[in-house]
Each structure stands twice: as structure tokens, then as C-alpha cells.
């Protein structure tokens, strides 16, 4: 009886999980399948959603028609995005130009900062770390206005540095890496010191290899975070030609719905590849598992 109840419970749990999985996956699947629809079909299916934006256009269907299977598979949206309009490619490279330096330098800064918070002793250390935590807890919108003011003051407004510099010094990765580095046994570092290793050797030969999974996690999380940023470019980059592709995806209009599906599908490829590459480390890093070996 108990066994049957347990099986039933497991079954219900599985169904609930499946339901959630379907709900969460549906937008992604919809994006990918709809990117293969022609502009006419997209307009017929979703045109009414955008009818408020354009008063002159009349749409065939007066309700949204969520469809997963195209009437006729068409690559026209991809052809438009990749071949006919250099703007989208330019915006893609804008995203890359903004995100890659942020990820590299943020990880570097976080690594150094985390080592400092872990290995050095001082009165200000804890206070400074607490300040980092406070900063991390603040919503991004709170710091957006000071960011804007500082950028204007430093004449960096409407330049990529206005995005890259705050990104490099973001507190989240410092916090995560510090927490991870503190789990490295002190005895290990002391043993290295006894063996005559300096700080640079300890940092590069002990700390960084042991934090590899955490570094991977940080790379993936930071990449996803900044690859999808919308508010910062809108506020800090007034020049549309410098804005990343994520901004375009947030500003689609009725004529570009099909194009947005195709661009979104292309846009999710780098994230997906990065995630698949570091999937194991991401889980490991987040769960703090396997911190010390042997």
C-alpha cells in the first residue's frame, strides 16, 4: 500500500514537472519553429497583437493563432537577417564587442578580488566585502541613474565604455568567487607558503585551478546576463548603431515579428554553445561541490 502510494506520488510529481517543463520550453520552441515561417504567415498569426501599433494595417486573423508547425517552411527570415540587412549582423557584433571584454575582465577582476578577500587580513576587508554584498543586492535600476551621471561626467556617455566599465567591476562574480575560494583549505595555502610559494604562484597554481568550476559558472552567468541586457544600452547608448541586438529584440514592431524570431534564434546560439560547453562546471560551481580533491 505504501509502495503504491509512493509510486503514485512519484507519478504526480513527474507529471507536474513535465507540465512545468512544457510551459517553460514552449516560448523557446515557438521562437525556433516560427522563425521558419514566412512573413505573410507570421502576420496572419500574430498581426493582431501589433494592430494597436499600426492603425492602417488590417490583419487576416482577428485573434492570435499560436502555431508550432509552419504552413510552408521558409528561410526567408534568415535570408533577410543574414543576407539582405547588414544592420542585424552589425548589432550582433555590437553585442559581442560589449559582452566579451566584460566577461574577460570581470572574471579577472573577480579572481583578484576574491583572492584578496580570502588571503589577506585587515580591518577594512570585511566591511568592504559587506559593501560588495549590499551593492550586489541592489536592483540594477537603482544604480542605473548614478551610472548615467558618472558616464556623463566622465564623457563616456554614448560610448561602449559606459557599458563595459561598470560591467567589469560588477560585484556578483566577486561575491560568488570569494565564497568559493574561502572553501579552499587554509592548510593547503599555508603548505604552499612553507614550500616557498609566493602569492602569484599560490594564486595561479592553487587557487585558480581549484576554482575552475566556479570560474566557468561565472563566465556563463555573466555572459548570459550581459548578452541579454536591454536597459543599460537604451539608457547609456543613444546611438542606435552602437546598441546590441538584444535591444532590437525588445523593440520589434509589427513588420519585423518574423524577423525577430529568426534573429532571436540566431542570437541564442552563442549562449547555448557556451552553456553546453561548460554545463558540468556550471552545476558544479553553483552547488559548491567537489571543492577540494584529495
Amino acid at each position: 500500500m505504501r509502495k503504491a502510494m509512493y509510486a503514485l506520488g512519484r507519478g504526480l510529481l513527474f507529471l507536474t514537472a513535465l507540465l512545468f517543463a512544457i510551459v517553460f520550453l514552449m516560448p523557446t520552441v515557438l521562437t525556433i519553429t516560427n522563425s521558419f515561417m514566412s512573413g505573410t504567415e507570421i502576420a496572419a498569426n500574430y498581426g493582431v497583437v501589433f494592430s494597436s501599433l499600426s492603425n492602417t494595417t488590417t490583419y487576416i486573423s482577428d485573434q492570435v493563432n499560436l502555431k508550432f508547425i509552419p504552413d510552408q517552411v521558409s528561410f526567408s527570415q534568415y535570408a533577410t537577417a543574414l543576407l539582405k540587412s547588414p544592420d542585424y549582423l552589425l548589432k550582433f557584433w555590437n553585442s559581442v564587442i560589449l559582452v566579451v571584454p566584460i566577461v574577460i575582465f570581470q572574471v579577472a577582476v573577480a579572481a583578484f578580488a576574491a583572492y584578496s578577500f580570502t588571503c589577506y587580513r585587515g580591518k577594512m576587508k570585511e566591511a568592504l566585502f559587506f559593501f560588495y554584498i549590499i551593492l550586489m543586492l541592489m536592483p540594477y535600476q537603482v544604480t542605473l541613474v548614478p551610472n548615467y551621471l558618472v558616464a556623463e561626467w566622465t564623457h563616456l556617455l554614448n560610448t561602449r565604455w559606459a557599458i563595459i566599465l561598470p560591467g567589469i567591476f560588477a560585484p556578483f562574480s566577486v561575491f560568488l568567487l570569494t565564497k568559493f575560494m574561502r572553501r579552499i583549505p587554509v592548510s593547503l595555502i599555508e603548505a604552499a607558503k612553507l614550500d616557498g610559494a609566493g602569492d602569484w604562484k599560490i594564486f595561479t597554481r592553487i587557487c585558480l585551478p581549484m576554482c575552475r568550476s566556479a570560474l566557468y559558472s561565472i563566465v556563463i552567468l555573466v555572459f548570459i546576463d550581459y548578452w541579454n541586457m536591454v536597459e543599460q544600452p537604451i539608457v547609456l547608448l543613444s546611438d542606435a548603431e552602437k546598441q546590441p541586438l538584444s535591444v532590437f529584440l525588445s523593440q520589434i514592431n509589427s513588420g519585423e515579428v518574423g524577423l525577430a524570431f529568426a534573429v532571436a534564434t540566431i542570437y541564442m546560439v552563442p549562449t547555448l554553445l557556451l552553456f553546453l560547453h561548460g554545463e558540468d562546471y556550471l552545476v558544479e560551481g553553483i552547488t559548491y561541490s567537489g571543492s577540494v580533491k584529495g
Partner: protein, 631 residues
């Protein structure tokens, strides 16, 4: 564990490669993005806005007409049989325009009837004169009246129309042709008959002996001889066979104990040589062999004799065949000859009939001509009788010396009736003057521009049947322009002829500016004198230059476009982008001030040296990205 790590490593490697490929593709696409996009953009040619002079041209088209037009009219009522020309045809003087039905003008006939009625009424009026009261006068008048009637009757009997004479003449011509044809036919037949007679004479006249019996007999004898020789050969073969068999039996064991190596043939030959007397039924083997050889020779000789006999037979047969063919040909020729003789007889008969008919037709024509000549004389006699009657009536009337009102009234009536007769006579004379033959010919040379009557219709007296424009009197062309345009040209200006490929060296000069009847005061007619290689009815396009003027903004004609909102030009606006310059077609509304063949003067928000789009490789809409043409 190691395997799991290896799998992970492999997967990471695969994903790394995928990422590299993805980024490489994106890079390549970015590199070529401008090129690919430019390929899909419409290519445009541009020209800058300039200032200068515009010499506008007035254009118009019209039909060339001749300066002088001749109306073809007839003074008779005749039925049109055929219209011999078509509109646009060029005719020379004397060319046939219409062929008329045979017969007299119906109008003339009617007039003659009217004249007869008028004369009759006139005589009645005179007879009803209140002054005729003596019986002697009455008798005299009656006698004169009868004389008039007799004269009229006699004259009417001789009345012959021109058409009747023409018909009789035509009949005579037909009969002459028929007689001539018959004579020619007879001549032809004579020639053919002579030819056939010659052919007949050429054929071998001797009869061929149809007897084949001698050859047949020889052939039969040869055949019999051949058969007997065949039988003899068969008998000899049989004897020889039996002798051979016997010999082979005997010789099989001959001297076998001494010469076992000898073959059967050798033994047989040896035995025969050693025993020349041995044989079968008294015939030795060699005799049998000789016999068979002789029989073969005899058979060959018989065969040769038979072949010769057969050849002789066939030769004879061929001779006979040729002879029979010739006789068949001769009989066929004879039959043809007979037919021709019959035909000749028929033709001779026909000729006789034709000659007779010709004589009759000639006689009829002569009679008609005589009647026509007599008619005039008889008509004069009628007139003389009528005059006599009239004189008598008038003399009786005047002898009364009465001055009553009734007399005056009677005189007026007589005068009126006389006047009517005179008028009718005058009309008839006019008709008779206009009376022509059976065709209406062109009085002038020119081009037929209008035909007002069709075949089967009747002509009206003095009404235009056809218009002929006389080519040697020059040509005119006119078209309508606005009053403003008319003010910008002057008489004597020459115009260019455009789009006319059929003639060369055409000169058009403005001769007059007149009011346009269809223009309600808003337009004028420009009248040009056209000289050169044109003809009436040609459609010409003319362009005459206006006075020129200076303008600030001049663009090529091809740059000016129009839609429901009016005229506009598309200018090229340059936009800088990280991937290079982009060119956008931008609409600028303009007003057209003047234009010539190549340029248009405009006003609008344009500045000098703006680039305007003149041509494009695809239809353009304002705001569209374009590609500049590569020089």
C-alpha cells in the same frame, strides 16, 4: 570515470568547433553583408540640378490635307454599278471613278414626261379658248391637232436611246468575237486533223502475218526430241547403274589375296581392264559408260535445239505484239480523227450561226442608227405641226379683238403654260448636255479623300459624289494649341517633323494662326504649309520651338515623376553608417514650369547641385535604399 571524462572532453571539443564555425560564418557574412545588400538594391543613375535655358516646344499632330479639293458631280440620275476607286487612291485625269448601270437618266425621262404633259395641257388650254366659235376654225384646228398627234406617234416610233445603240454596238462586238472564236476553232481543228493524218500515214501500213504455227511446230518437235533424249539418258543411266553394281560385286573379291591394299575402285578398274568382255545382258561396262556419255551429248544437243526453237518462237511472238500495238494506235488515231471531224462540223455550224447573228445585230444597229437620225427629223416635223396648231389657235384668238377681263386671264394662263414648257425644255437641254457614257472619269489628278456614294445608289443632280484633293496645289496641316502656346510662336516659324519614317525632307512652316472653332475661345489653330514627300491623309507629328527662357532649377525629363499628389523628383540623400555610406531616395515635390525634349524647369525645395535620380533598375519608392550606378 575516465571514459566519462573522455566523452565530456569530446563533447566540449565538438561544441568548441561549432562555436568557432558559427563565429566564422557570422564574420564572413558581415564582411560580405554590404556587397550582398547592394546587389539587392535598385541601381540608380543620378544627375545634378542645374540652371540654364529651356526652349520649350509645342507639339501637335494632324492629318495632311491638300490645298485644293475637287468635288466630282454629275448632272443626271444614274445608278452606280461599281465604285472603281477607294478612299486614299491616287487618280490621274481620265481614270474611271464610277461605272454606271446601263440606261437613261431617270431624271431626264421624268422631265421629258413632264414636258409632254405641259405641252398637252398647253394645247388643251388653247383649245378651251372662249374665242373659238366658228366651225371652219374648229375644223382647221381639229385637223392640225390630228396632224400633231400623228407626227408625235410617228416620232415616238423612231425614239431610240443612246443606251439602246450602245447595247446594240456591244451586241455586235460580242457577235464579232463569237464569229472570230468559231473561225479560230475551225482553224485549230483543221490543224489537228492534218497532224493526225500525218501520224496515221507514218504508221506501217503492211499487215503482219499472225501465223505462229511454223514456229510452234518447230518448238514442239524440239521439245519432243529433248524428251526422247532425256528418256534415252535415263535408260543409259539405269543400265550403267546396274552394270556398276554387278562389277562392284564381282570386283570386290578380285585378287584380294594378292593385292589386299587395292581399293574397290582400283579393283573394279583392274577387273574391267582384265575382262573386257564381262558385262550385264550383253553390254560391257565400258559400253554402258560410252552409251551414257553419248546419251548426255545427244541430250545437250537436243537442249540447244529446243532453246533455239524457243528463241525463234518468242521473237516471232514479239514481232506480232509490236504489230498489234501499231494497229491499236492507228485505230485510236482514227477515232480521234472522227471526233475532230465532228467537232469541226459543229464549229462550222456555230460559225454559220454566229455570222448570221452578226448580220442580224449589224442590221439592228443600222436600223437603230437610222431611227435615231430620223427621230430628229420627225421631231422637227412634230414641232412644225405644233407650231402650226399654235399659230392657228393664236391667230383665231387674235382675230376676235376682244379686250375683256376673261381674255387677259386666258392670256396669262397661256403665257404661264408656255413658260413652263420653256423651263422644262431648258432643263432637258441641260440634262442632255450632262449626259455622258456609262462611266464617270476623273476630271483632275489627285487623291481620293471622300466617296459619298456606294454601288447600287442613284446619283442626284449636281450633288458631290467624290472629293479629290489635287496633289499639285500643295498641302496643309493644322492642330490646336492653347492661347498661351499660340502667343509664343510667330507666322513663318518652321516646325520639325518627328516620328515620320516614310518620307524625307519634309518642311512645315507656320502659315496662319486662326481661331479654333472647337476651342470655345481657349485655343487656336496653328496652320502649317507642308512641303516635301507627303501625300494627303498622312499623319504628321510636328514640334515647333517656343521662345526660350532662363530657369534656376533644371532637371532631366526622366527625373520628373508624377502621382496623385502631383509632380515630384527623387533626390539621393547620403547617410553614414559603420558599414559605409547608405543612399536613400527622398521625395521632393516640385512644380513643372517648362520643359523641352531633354530638360524640365521646376520649382520646389531643391537646391542647385542636389542629385536627382534619373533612371533606376527597379521601381522606386521614397525612402528606399538605393545603389549608385558604377561609372
Amino acid at each position: 570515470m575516465d571514459t566519462k571524462e573522455a566523452l565530456r572532453g569530446k563533447r566540449r571539443g565538438w561544441i568548441k568547433n561549432a562555436a568557432i564555425i558559427f563565429l566564422a560564418i557570422m564574420l564572413v557574412l558581415t564582411f560580405f553583408s554590404n556587397t550582398i545588400m547592394n546587389r539587392s538594391l535598385p541601381e540608380v543613375a543620378t544627375q545634378y540640378v542645374s540652371s540654364g535655358t529651356i526652349s520649350a516646344k509645342i507639339r501637335g499632330s494632324g492629318t495632311v490635307t491638300a490645298n485644293s479639293a475637287y468635288e466630282v458631280k454629275v448632272k443626271e440620275n444614274r445608278v452606280i454599278k461599281t465604285v472603281a476607286v477607294r478612299k486614299g487612291d491616287t487618280v490621274e485625269v481620265g481614270d474611271v471613278l464610277f461605272i454606271l448601270e446601263e440606261g437613261e437618266s431617270t431624271g431626264l425621262q421624268e422631265l421629258r414626261d413632264q414636258l409632254d404633259d405641259a405641252k398637252y395641257n398647253y394645247r388643251l388650254l388653247l383649245l378651251s379658248s372662249p374665242y373659238i366659235n366658228t366651225s371652219s376654225d374648229s375644223r382647221e384646228i381639229e385637223r392640225l391637232k390630228e396632224k400633231v398627234e400623228e407626227a408625235i406617234e410617228e416620232r415616238d416610233l423612231s425614239y431610240v436611246t443612246d443606251a439602246q445603240i450602245a447595247s446594240a454596238e456591244s451586241d455586235v462586238t460580242d457577235k464579232e468575237i463569237a464569229a472570230e472564236t468559231a473561225a479560230n476553232q475551225i482553224e485549230d481543228l483543221d490543224e489537228k486533223i492534218a497532224e493526225l493524218n500525218e501520224q496515221l500515214a507514218g504508221l506501217s501500213g503492211g499487215t503482219v502475218n499472225a501465223d505462229l504455227s511454223a514456229e510452234q511446230k518447230a518448238l514442239d518437235a524440239a521439245a519432243r526430241e529433248l524428251n526422247s533424249k532425256k528418256t534415252e539418258l535415263q535408260t543409259a543411266n539405269l543400265i550403267y547403274g546396274r552394270a556398276y553394281e554387278k562389277l562392284s560385286e564381282i570386283a570386290a573379291t578380285w585378287e584380294i589375296e594378292y593385292h589386299p591394299e587395292y581399293s574397290l575402285e582400283a579393283r573394279m578398274a583392274g577387273y574391267a581392264r582384265m575382262n573386257p568382255g564381262a558385262g550385264l545382258d550383253g553390254i560391257t561396262y565400258s559400253e554402258a559408260y560410252e552409251k551414257i556419255t553419248d546419251a548426255k551429248v545427244a541430250l545437250e544437243a537436243a537442249q540447244i535445239a529446243y532453246n533455239d526453237a524457243q528463241t525463234a518462237y518468242y521473237n516471232r511472238l514479239a514481232e506480232l505484239g509490236a504489230s498489234s500495238m501499231e494497229s491499236a494506235q492507228a485505230s485510236s488515231l482514227k477515232a480521234q480523227l472522227e471526233t475532230l471531224e465532228e467537232q469541226k462540223k459543229a464549229a462550222e455550224k456555230e460559225k454559220k450561226n454566229a455570222d448570221k447573228a452578226l448580220e442580224e445585230a449589224n442590221a439592228l444597229l443600222e436600223t437603230l442608227k437610222t431611227k435615231k437620225e430620223n427621230y430628229k427629223m420627225l421631231d422637227d416635223a412634230v414641232k412644225a405641226a405644233e407650231d402650226a396648231l399654235e399659230d392657228k389657235l393664236i391667230s383665231v384668238q387674235e382675230s376676235q379683238h376682244s379686250t375683256t377681263v376673261e381674255k387677259t386671264k386666258f392670256d396669262l394662263d397661256v403665257e404661264k403654260a408656255k413658260k413652263q414648257i420653256d423651263e422644262l425644255q431648258e432643263k432637258i437641254d441641260k440634262y442632255e448636255e450632262g449626259e455622258g457614257g456609262d462611266t464617270i472619269n476623273a476630271p483632275v489628278a489627285g487623291t481620293v479623300t471622300a466617296i459619298n456614294i456606294s454601288a447600287g445608289s442613284t446619283t442626284d443632280y449636281d450633288v458631290s459624289l467624290m472629293t479629290i484633293e489635287e496633289n499639285d496645289r500643295g498641302y496643309m496641316l493644322s492642330f490646336s494649341v492653347t492661347n498661351e502656346q499660340a502667343q509664343k510662336v510667330k507666322i513663318g516659324d518652321s516646325a520639325d517633323v518627328t516620328g515620320y519614317y516614310w518620307g524625307s525632307d519634309i518642311k512645315a512652316t507656320l502659315a496662319a494662326i486662326t481661331n479654333d472653332p472647337a476651342g470655345a475661345g481657349q485655343s487656336k489653330l496653328l496652320n502649317f504649309v507642308v512641303e516635301g514627300d507627303v501625300s494627303a491623309g498622312d499623319q504628321l507629328n510636328l514640334a515647333i520651338s517656343q521662345k526660350s527662357a532662363n530657369y534656376e532649377l533644371i532637371v532631366p525629363n526622366s527625373a520628373v515623376r508624377s502621382d496623385a499628389n502631383g509632380y515630384f523628383v527623387l533626390t539621393v540623400q547620403t547617410k553614414n553608417s559603420p558599414l559605409g555610406n547608405r543612399y536613400v531616395a527622398t521625395r521632393v515635390d516640385v512644380q513643372v514650369l517648362a520643359s523641352d525634349d531633354t530638360n524640365t524647369a521646376v520649382s520646389g525645395s531643391l537646391v542647385s547641385y542636389d542629385y536627382v535620380i534619373t533612371t533606376s533598375s527597379a521601381p522606386l519608392t521614397p525612402g528606399q535604399l538605393v545603389r549608385l550606378v558604377e561609372n
